[in-house]
Symmetry: C2
Subunit: 415 residues, 2 copies
């Protein structure tokens, strides 16, 4: 067996032991992990310093370096997030259906862990701990494959998790780290269909594409967020400005940030100039269609590739559209199935937006930034699914489970 296959087989074995661990034991182990992270922060930061030094040698840029960097407050944050997961309800054992047939046969559907979840991610080392905590809480073993730039940090963090699991008498093998370095280990990992139940890739498009191409295991991708805000004729201008600024400027680098503003031509003269001014005053570059530029001289001309583009920066595409039909058509063509917002006072058009948009999340008069596990009441999230199968949108603990039919009788046979 290859190294990757061996790691996955160990995780599979551990998953059986973990599946029926009671909530109290899992929570105690998670609290111990949090304490362990705080106690061993020097060791973690030393490993992280090595990663940072190597990254600097390779000429890594500021933003990527920042995502890679850990310090005392960040380690405490990571530990705090584990404690929050411990405080969440245990999804395992939840009863989804329970009925008794006329012949006395009881039919239940009960939530159970998925088994083994493989997490493939890039720079940010906190994912190592966040993903482990969520998978373990839902009774799953996890196989981690982080980026090579964070290899030492990830190994140090995973070692704390595994050590604390073992001290809490849970299987150490429930957390496995696949060596980073080559794409070969990713390819091999996503083909372990006999031992891995789900692969969750988080990262750039190249990674997601590679995983999709080679996977023989089911994949839930945390893929691009190309989120739109459509400002309808008659919309409240102050509300529209608030939603646009919050969507684009609060945190431009995340997947639920706005990438494109659509404005109804019927009301663009009133709405667009002050919207544009508010955004540009906030340091945002606008790339507009011709009709936009006629109203907003400060906007650059949008290129064809600016529609459907994930800028992840203080840049926003702006298009004047022909009413809600134009907006729906634009989103159908360029949206990524993540989060789509309308700002409107019209109930009919609000309902068309809710029911005609094919995306994980639609918002009416609310910021796209709310599409987040914490904000939606999930407590935490392991990613945001832009595919439709199994789970859609922000993925909390439930998304890491499946269910089992359980039939109880006293000898019933089928007639």
């Amino acid at each position: 067996m290859s190294d990757v296959a061996t790691l996955c087989a160990r995780a599979r074995a551990a998953s059986h032991a973990l599946a029926n661990v009671p909530r109290a034991s899992k929570d105690a182990a998670l609290l111990a992990v949090a304490a362990g992270l705080r106690a061993r922060s020097a060791e973690i930061l030393a490993a992280n310093a090595e990663d940072l030094a190597r990254a600097r040698e390779r000429g890594t840029s500021g933003a990527l370096l920042d995502r890679l960097r850990l310090d005392e407050p960040r380690v405490r944050q990571i530990a705090g997030a584990v404690e929050q997961v411990a405080a969440l309800a245990d999804p395992v054992g939840g009863v989804l259906d329970d009925h008794t047939r006329a012949d006395g046969l009881r039919v239940r559907r009960v939530r159970v862990p998925l088994g083994v979840i493989a997490m493939i991610y890039e720079a940010r080392p906190n994912v190592t701990v966040d993903a482990s905590a969520l998978c373990l809480k839902a009774g799953n073993a996890v196989v981690l494959r982080g980026g090579s730039e964070a290899a030492r940090s990830n190994a140090a963090l995973a070692a704390v998790v595994a050590d604390e699991l073992a001290r809490a008498s849970l299987p150490r093998d429930a957390v496995q780290v696949v060596p980073a370095g080559s794409h070969d280990t990713v390819r091999e990992l996503v083909q372990q269909s006999s031992t891995v139940d789900l692969v969750i890739p988080r990262g750039g498009e190249a990674l997601i594409q590679f995983v999709r191409e080679h996977a023989r295991v089911p994949v839930i991708a945390h893929a691009r967020g190309v989120c739109h805000l459509y400002v309808d004729a008659g919309a409240d201008l102050g509300m529209a400005i608030g939603l646009a600024k919050n969507g684009k400027l609060q945190r431009p680098g995340v997947c639920n940030a706005l990438e494109c503003l659509l404005v109804d031509v019927a009301d663009a003269e009133r709405l667009l100039p002050p919207l544009a001014k508010a955004l540009m005053d906030g340091g945002c570059e606008l790339r507009g269609c011709d009709r936009t530029r006629a109203l907003v001289p400060g906007a650059r001309a949008a290129g064809d590739d600016d529609w459907g583009r994930e800028f992840l920066d203080r840049v926003l595409a702006v298009r004047v559209v022909d009413g809600i039909d134009g907006a729906l058509a634009h989103v159908a063509r360029y949206g990524s199935g993540h989060t789509e917002a309308i700002c409107t006072r019209d109930a009919v058009r609000a309902e068309r937006w809710r029911t005609e948009i094919d995306a994980a999340c639609v918002t009416v008069n609310a910021s796209t930034r709310f599409h987040d596990g914490g904000e939606l009441g999930l407590g935490a999230e392991i990613g945001i699914a832009t595919s439709k199968l199994h789970w859609r949108g922000a993925m909390g603990l439930e998304a890491l489970t499946t269910f089992q039919w359980r039939l109880d009788g006293d000898g019933q046979i089928r007639g």
Copy 2:
């Protein structure tokens, strides 16, 4: 665009129109389909007669011919099944979660159609109509790719469905038929990731394997059922005989039939001889381990490949195991994740069976034959999923939907 890509794109366009059709319109169309099937049965049977003639020419065997054959009563049965689907509740629009945050933002999760479902199946023409009815009721378009041996029958049946949809002012394109004949069209179909949301293959292992190998679209396989019955020490003998006979003999050719009987060594002397006699009296061939054959001289010796084998016939593998641990280990190694039964009087071992078996369905003192959409209260089923993602076990209408987050506010932004 290739022919297959064109069909799928048409289905995708139709799926948008179908997604928000109210229940009454969908049900009216389904009732019209049922009436159309009855009215045009001569046309359907003529097409079927051609398929049968070709199959006979190719020397097709009795069982396969029988699965292919339609007659008046079977057409009426197919029509009746469509009426049953019309009578089921509409899953679309069901609210899974609904809460309002302190800031007034309302957060809902609402059931919506998946979009386009591709169904790949073999001989039985009734699947053409059954799958179409279930997909349409759940608001989905369907792309059908049946076996070449039933090509004329499938085309005739699908034409009735499409004609009645069009007469009911629903999109005719919601039902597409991919020409059978070569595996190339299957390969192409399962790679239409921009237009197809889910592929459901039903058929032999070669088909399932081919689909899994080539798919770029999510797959829920209706795969092998290798179901076990473990008879525990102290079990009620009469109950055990009832469960074994019902599981193996009532309908040996289906996926929820028994393929292997496990008996606790501690009580095998009492249990096994009468169990074996009842099965053999029912015309069943037994293939046993050495310990079985010591107690049941009439059993043949089981070969290594008889464990984990789907006989789909009046043949049963029989093994004496060392208590429930032996039974659990056997099932973990040889089970296919479909349905696993225990016959026991012991509550602790019953609970171990429920919680330690990793299968879509576990039964305690009940026949494996109950794992069926109709029996479990789903009304109908499109297949039985032996994978874990999205849905597990008998798949009814809910399994053909996903959900969408819908956020409603009055200008809320994220702090």
